[in-house]
């Protein structure tokens, strides 16, 4: 079997005294969409932040393409092709859409390549092309999310970490973001997706892992997880008509 693109082994992370991750392990294989599910505070965002190097792991290992990146600085991890779109988009407010995209391509050495990728981003998200010169903070929430994703794509990442891309968006926009993620995956980008909208995430993903207070309590193929009754009760809300924003707590 080929080695996984990302392998997380027994990772524990602390925020001060708070033991946020209590030993999690999973793999992401090339071409997959893997999703991390769970309630608020379960450790989903912390998992992504630990993998991308924003917070240090206290114990355990993170391997990317077989290379140990546990102690590697965040900007070096990004240069390896592991790019994290953080929770809340974190676009550069006060800078234009175009400048945001350029910064996503900071590691691209050639201006010509950066320009080509920018045009590709505009082709993928025409709304961004219309607003290329506007201050990015004036974009709507959905447009900001698209900009955050487009910005991450500028470096042509091998693995894209997406943290709550649907957060705060109207249902129509959630659908659009999800379609975008599917398109990206079909075009070859491997995705690790954190979502509170579990039903939506499982429809996209190949595999899913459910976190609870810093541990993985349930793993499996997405299709199987979607049918899992205990999961349905805890995270998918009541009936299939409910679009399933996970219950807090």
């Amino acid at each position: 079997m080929t080695e996984p693109l990302l392998k997380v082994e027994g990772v524990e992370t602390y925020y001060g005294q708070i033991h946020a991750l209590r030993g999690i392990g999973f793999e992401v294989r090339r071409g997959q969409v893997v999703t991390l599910l769970g309630a608020n505070g379960a450790g989903k965002s912390t998992s992504l932040r630990t993998i991308s190097g924003l917070v240090p792991a206290k114990r355990g290992r993170v391997l990317f393409e077989g290379e140990d990146i546990t102690r590697v600085a965040a900007h070096r991890i990004a240069r390896l092709g592991l790019v994290h779109v953080p929770e809340g988009r974190r676009i550069f407010r006060g800078m234009s859409v175009e400048e945001n995209l350029d910064l996503g391509g900071f590691t691209v050495a050639e201006e010509e390549v950066r320009r080509r990728r920018r045009e590709a981003a505009y082709a993928m998200f025409p709304i961004l092309a219309e607003r290329r010169a506007s201050d990015s903070s004036l974009l709507s929430g959905g447009e900001q999310q698209m900009l955050a994703i487009a910005r991450a794509l500028m470096s042509e990442p091998k693995l894209l970490l997406l943290d709550e891309p649907s957060m705060g968006l109207a249902p129509r926009l959630v659908q659009e973001i999800m379609r975008t993620i599917r398109r990206l995956n079909e075009a070859g980008t491997t995705v690790l997706l954190v979502e509170q909208n579990a039903r939506m995430a499982l429809r996209l993903a190949h595999y899913g892992h459910v976190l609870e207070t810093g541990r993985i309590v349930l793993s499996g193929e997405a299709a199987a997880l979607e049918k899992d009754e205990s999961l349905a009760k805890a995270y998918l809300g009541g009936g299939p008509r409910n679009e399933g924003v996970a219950a807090a707590g």
Partner: protein, 304 residues
């Protein structure tokens, strides 16, 4: 002298003063922008720059002369040397405190300021050092107002430096990264930007600009001393606040405005030139009370 000539003379004076303030304010504002530190040592880098330029000019003037032929290389030398000093200060004094409370860094900045001043004091014995050049007083006469070529070149050199800075900051990837780390450092890391190196670059540029201003001021005033950075540091801070701290065009605008205010302020009947500093800092207080974001600074807009 007719009033318009007085005003014209003060306009020329204010422009020169203002361009020094602007050059120093730029570094103040850029450093504040990226790490939210009021770098109290910044004025002392201007002083150090004046001495570095003086030293270089003393060496160069033997074969390059005491005119611009010697001054320009002296300015460049001073910018490189003091730029490097700024980077070293950041690396040694500020970077280890990146995660520490802001107050710790502020106190460290005060300590760095005192260190630089006292080193200069020890070397000069507190005496004024004559900054001799042979630029002469040739210039253009507009009625009773005489503007020397030297004064024009001083303003011109400041403008050139500011234009180059603006082109760098808005047109290059490193310039964009500098603006971006002022907005969100973690997001920058996730884009592959080396935040520590970009901060070092900010110190390099800010310190080099202050050094250039220091040498130009030495040329203009004809003497330098260990304490010359103190007041201009405070005034550059004022200029940065007036323009909107963290904003690069704001620092330029604030510097020029402050220079003009100071020059014209001395002409208000009943307000002599001994009141000029009172005048300047009264403006600082007014701005802090009524428009703390400055002329070009803007309040944070939040939108989710």
């Amino acid at each position: 002298m007719p009033l318009y000539e007085v005003l014209l003379q003060q306009f020329a004076n204010g422009l020169i003063l203002g361009s020094f303030y602007a050059l120093v304010a730029l570094g103040y504002s850029m450093v504040y922008g990226v790490i939210k530190l009021l770098n109290f040592a910044h004025g002392d880098l201007y002083m150090t720059g004046a001495f570095a330029g003086f030293g270089a000019l003393s060496l160069f003037s033997g074969w390059l002369g005491g005119g611009w032929g010697g001054i320009v290389p002296a300015i460049l030398f001073s910018m490189v040397a003091v730029g490097a000093l700024g980077v070293i200060i950041d690396r040694v004094a500020y970077r280890p405190l990146r995660q520490a409370p802001k107050l710790s860094v502020l106190i460290t900045a005060l300590a760095v300021s005192m260190l630089l001043e006292n080193v200069a004091l020890a070397f000069t014995g507190g005496q004024y050092t004559a900054f001799t050049t042979n630029l002469g007083f040739a210039g253009v006469d507009l009625g009773m107002v005489h503007v020397t070529y030297t004064q024009m070149v001083l303003v011109g050199a400041s403008v050139v430096l500011m234009v180059v800075l603006e082109l760098f900051v808005s047109g290059t990837m490193h310039g964009k990264a500098m603006r971006a780390i002022a907005i969100d450092q973690d997001a920058c890391r996730l884009m592959g930007i080396d935040v520590d190196r970009t901060i070092a670059l900010t110190f390099l540029i800010g310190s080099a600009l202050a050094a250039a201003a220091g040498v130009l001021a030495g040329v203009y005033y004809g003497s330098i001393n260990f304490f010359m950075g103190f007041l201009i540091g405070l005034k550059a801070f004022t200029a940065a606040v007036i323009g909107g701290i963290g904003s690069i065009p704001g620092a330029m605008l604030g510097g020029i405005l402050l220079g003009l205010l100071e020059a014209f302020g001395t002409q208000i009947p009943g307000v002599g030139s001994e009141w000029k500093d009172v005048f300047v800092f009264a403006f600082l207080i007014l701005f802090l009370v009524f428009r703390p974001t400055g002329l070009l600074g803007r309040p944070e807009v939040e939108r989710m």
